[in-house]
Symmetry: D2
C-alpha cells in the first residue's frame, strides 16, 4: 500500500468567522484518519485488554502546515502514511487534498501506552500482534 | 443567592462562517457554568470516590433558545439557577446576557450517576452531602 | 419519504472522560443531518446569492433528550423528519439509533435568514424554490 | 516583557475517554493566548477596516509537543513569546505549565492577511501600526 486514504466532507461547524476551516480541525482529521487506518487493519486505537486496561495511542507531537484555505462542503481526500515504526511509537505523515491539489500536510507521532482505569498512562513497546499488521510507507 | 454568575469572553474558535457563535457552544457554556457553580460550592462534577469510581452528572436533556447572534470577543454574563432538585437529578435554568440584554436561555437536566472505571453508569440518589450544599433558586 | 437517514461512526474526539460521547456533539450531529438532508435535495444551508449574500439557517432553538450512553466507534443511524414547515422556519425531529435501539432524540428549529457579508442576519420567508423541495414527514 | 501569560482552567469538554485533554485543544489554547496577547496590546486578530474587510491572522503552521497528560480542572499557565516578527507573519513560541512543570510546548506561525467579505484571503505586510506594538521576546 502506498498510502491509506480517507475521505470526508467539511462540516459547517468546522468553519470560523474567516469563512474557512478552523485550523484545530486538521489535527482532529489527522487523528480520525489514523483511527480509520487502524480500523482497516482490524485494530482499535482503544483496544480493551482482558485486565480492564486499554492499549491506547496518545500524542507525542503533531504538526501541520496550511497552504490554502479549506471551506464548508469541500470534499477532502486525506492520505496517511506510516512514516516510521519505532519501538514505542508510530509517526504518520498526512496530506490533505481537494481535487488533486494539496491544501495541507502534517506529521503526528503517537506513543503506544497502557491506559489504566484510574487515568494513568505508561508508555510500552508496541505489541508484536500490532507490529505485524503495520508497515512503513515511503514518504515522497 | 438569586443566581450563580459566570462570565466569559467568546473565543474565535466558537464562531462559524455565518460570523456568529456556532450554537453547539451554548450547551458547552451551560455545562461550564454548572461546573463553575459546583466548584463554588467546594464540589466537583467528577468527584472521585475511595473505591475508584466517580460521582458524575451526565445529561438527561438540554434545550436552548437563541434570540440574538453572539459574536467573537463578546463578553457574556451567564446566569445559572437550580430550578429543581429532584431525587436523582438537578434541573438548571441558564440565561446568557451581553450588556444587560438576554441573548439566549435554556434548561439542562443532569442525572447523578456512579461512573465506573469500565465506563458503565448507574443513576443514584443525590448524596446528602451534595444535597446539603445546593438550593433551589426561583426562576423569574 | 418517511424520514431522511444519515449514518456516522462516533469519533474518538467526541468522547469525554466519562468515556461516553459529550452531549454537545448531538447538536452538531443534528445539524450535520439537516445539512445532509439539504444536500440530498440539491440545496445548501449556505446558499450564495448573486448579490454576495447567503441564504442561511441559524438556530431558533434546539433540544435533545439522552436515553443511553453513546461510545467511541459506535455506528449511529440518525433519522431526520421535517416536523413543520413554517413561513420563516423549519422544525426538525431527529432520532439517534444504534442497532435498532433509540439512544437519543431531539428537535431543532432553524430560521431562514439572509446572511450579509458584514455579518448581519435578517429573517425572511422561506423562498418558494426551497419550499417546493421540502415536505413534512409525520412524527410517530 | 519576557513573555505574555494567560491562565485557564481545563473544562470537562476538553477531555476524552483516555481521561486526559484531547490534543486538539492545545492548538485552540495557543490561539486563544495569541488573541489575549493582541487584546492586551489594544489590537484584535479580526480588525475591521473602514472598507468592510478584516485584517486577520490565519495559520501558516502549528506544532505542539506533549510531555505529560493534562486533566480536567487543571489550572494551566500558558506563556507566549513572539519568537520572530517577519514581513508578513508572526511566529509564536508557547509553553503550558501546571504548578511550575512544563507539560507541553509548541510553535505557531500566523500570516497577516486581508480577509474579504466574500471569504477570499490575501497575505499582506504587517501594517506599521501593528508592528509598532509588537516586540520579539527571546526564547530560552
Amino acid at each position: 500500500m502506498d498510502y491509506f486514504v480517507a475521505r470526508r466532507r467539511v462540516e459547517f461547524s468546522a468553519t470560523d468567522m474567516a469563512q474557512i476551516v478552523h485550523f484545530a480541525n486538521f489535527y482532529k482529521w489527522m487523528e480520525e484518519t489514523e483511527h480509520a487506518y487502524f480500523r482497516s487493519l482490524g485494530l482499535s486505537i482503544m483496544q480493551k485488554q482482558p485486565d480492564g486496561t486499554y492499549i491506547g495511542w496518545p500524542r507525542v507531537n503533531a504538526t501541520c502546515h496550511f497552504h490554502a484555505p479549506v471551506r464548508y462542503d469541500d470534499e477532502l481526500e486525506i492520505r496517511l502514511r506510516v512514516e516510521r515504526i519505532g519501538f514505542k511509537s508510530l509517526t504518520y505523515y498526512v496530506e490533505f487534498f481537494r481535487d488533486g491539489n494539496r491544501l495541507a500536510y502534517g506529521r503526528m507521532k503517537s506513543a503506544c501506552c497502557i491506559c489504566r482505569p484510574d487515568g494513568t498512562l505508561t508508555s510500552i513497546e508496541i505489541p508484536q500482534e500490532i507490529r505485524d499488521k503495520i508497515h512503513e510507507m515511503p514518504v515522497p
